[in-house]
């Protein structure tokens, strides 16, 4: 599994997609700053700007959409371009290949969130200032927790997409499907209590996440973990039975 993971990172770092997407995330944050500055929310500083970024442009819809692109490339394109079969010919087990790719997807999601977090703080500090100095550290911890609360739902969303990616052999169709799901879930998760039961609920639960009650943290974590577990198992079953035709 680690060999597969290493290869995925080599491919990521040797390709352009990661850098382009990272730049786009940073650009979207810069765009957010312009919007904030042009609005009446002048009380905003780098500490509350991150919250605005995370539950604004980052989660609705940029990061989930980018994850759809990454999932399509990692699973569908690898299969449809005929490169997956050559990995399997090396004797790597199908389960190892899929688990390696799933861990890569999960780490990719974390990297996107780290890029969002760091660039939001840097851009926010430069343009809005650091805010009340005494509260900076507390707010930083709060923002780290806020960012962390999104990780598992984002991974859960990506792993659900990976299951579909294993069934669809067309990367264009997979990207379209992924973006469609991201948009639909963003709407669906606003319906009262639905977010507690969907794989992506924690990604959009702005108000709920802010409160950080044990109940909220547990239920989002548990729901995401259940989806991650179920869809990882489904991925393994699908890939075990799948004929590698391309």
């Amino acid at each position: 599994m680690l060999k597969v993971l290493k290869n995925e990172f080599i491919k990521m770092l040797n390709g352009r997609k990661f850098y382009i997407l990272a730049v786009l995330v940073i650009f979207s944050i810069a765009l957010d700053i312009i919007m904030v500055k042009s609005s009446t929310q002048f009380h905003m500083n780098t500490q509350n700007f991150f919250e605005q970024t995370l539950f604004g442009m980052a989660m609705k819809p940029i990061v989930p959409m980018f994850m759809a692109l990454v999932v399509a490339e990692t699973f569908t394109e690898d299969y449809s371009h005929g490169t997956m079969k050559f990995s399997l010919i090396t004797g790597v087990k199908r389960s190892e290949l899929i688990l390696g790719k799933l861990v890569f997807i999960a780490l990719y999601a974390v990297i996107f969130l780290v890029v969002t977090f760091v660039s939001s703080y840097i851009v926010g500090t430069i343009t809005l200032g650091i805010g009340i100095k005494g509260e900076f550290f507390n707010n930083l911890i709060f923002n780290v927790k806020l960012c962390s609360s999104v990780i598992l739902p984002l991974i859960s969303f990506s792993i659900v997409l990976s299951f579909v990616a294993l069934l669809i052999n067309n990367s264009g169709a997979m990207i379209g499907f992924g973006i469609g799901v991201a948009v639909i879930m963003a709407v669906l998760d606003h319906i009262k209590n639905v977010m507690y039961f969907t794989f992506s609920g924690g990604m959009y639960g702005t108000d709920v996440a802010r409160k950080f009650t044990t109940h909220n943290v547990l239920i989002f974590t548990l729901t995401a973990c259940i989806y991650i577990l179920i869809f990882t198992l489904l991925d393994l079953i699908v890939v075990r039975k799948k004929d590698i035709l391309l």
Partner: protein
């Protein structure tokens, strides 16, 4: 002749929605063979190869490689197998070298092995070029290099000359011959370019509609000790009578403009002399060897002439 069997399929069958893509296939590949796996497009060659590699699961039957059954011990069975299946697919945004490094990593091989295989196929100077800049011939070479990464004892090449120009085909043919002789590797080459197969392979298997039509040594199947004499004449009956009067073993077949006679090599002059002495009106008389192309067409049409 070494008869150690390295790869065999036993009653291999693969069905897709009730249609048999491979039907009770039994092929055997011995150590040192350069085995040509022939068939038209859609005959079941690639399905068979993918079954050998454990990429698709057979409906029934089994594949045994190096003594291991693929469905039960896939990792051990394919441990010493190198393969290029269908198109030579690579991560095109990366260099040839980096592509091979990915596979060396999966095999757990030292990176210096990548340089070794690139040297073997004559690609060392182009190793840092991105794969999308490679010509088809270079991609095929890189595909062969990848197939050699793990020091295999059997290399499977599926249509290795697909998409190549005549010069490229010749280069790949020479490369296969060179690698086969130098590294004593057993090759299985699937193709429908019959002249290439005839030039490279010592054994062949012909597959049609998923079924093995024939398997054997090229020399025996084509009976290269024989030649075909084509006699263009209107006096067919007289020619047949004269041929039958000769004390030589022959088979003949009539065609619109004359006769085709299959006979042991060296009898051309005797036949020519008899026809001249008996004043047979012969427009033209030519001699050719059995070709794999003709043999293949006869087999796949189910009309095994001269047999």
């Amino acid at each position: 002749m070494n008869n150690k069997c390295l790869l065999k399929t036993e009653n291999l069958t693969k069905e897709y929605k009730g249609r048999k893509a491979v039907d009770n296939l039994n092929i055997t590949v011995y150590e040192g063979d350069v085995y040509g796996f022939l068939g038209r497009n859609g005959a079941g060659k690639s399905t068979t190869i993918k079954s050998m590699l454990g990429l698709i699961k057979p409906t029934c039957g089994r594949v045994i490689i190096n003594g291991y059954e693929v469905s039960k011990e896939r990792e051990k069975a394919i441990e010493k197998i190198g393969a290029m299946v269908e198109a030579p697919s690579f991560y095109t945004g990366m260099s040839g070298y980096k592509n091979l490094c990915l596979y060396a990593n999966l095999y757990g091989l030292p990176i210096k092995r990548v340089d070794e295989v690139l040297e073997m196929v004559g690609m060392i100077n182009a190793k840092d070029k991105k794969v999308y800049k490679y010509s088809m011939g270079m991609k095929q070479r890189l595909g062969i290099a990848r197939a050699f990464l793990n020091n295999p004892n059997v290399v499977i090449l599926d249509e290795p000359t697909n998409g190549l120009d005549p010069q490229g085909i010749k280069e790949i043919r020479n490369l296969i011959q060179e690698l086969s002789e130098k590294y004593k590797v057993t090759f299985i080459i699937s193709s429908h370019i019959l002249t290439e197969i005839q030039a490279v392979c010592n054994r062949i298997g012909i597959i049609e509609d998923g079924q093995l039509k024939v398997q054997g040594y090229v020399e025996e199947l084509l009976n290269t000790k024989d030649e075909i004499i084509q006699i263009s004449t209107v006096e067919k009956e007289k020619t047949v009578r004269l041929l039958n009067s000769l004390n030589i073993e022959l088979n003949y077949e009539e065609f619109e403009g004359g006769l085709k006679v299959k006979v042991k090599k060296g009898n051309f002059n005797i036949i020519n002399k008899v026809l001249v002495e008996n004043d047979v009106n012969v427009k033209n008389m030519s001699c050719s060897e059995n070709s794999l192309e003709e043999y293949f067409l006869n087999i796949t049409k189910g009309e095994k002439k001269y047999a």
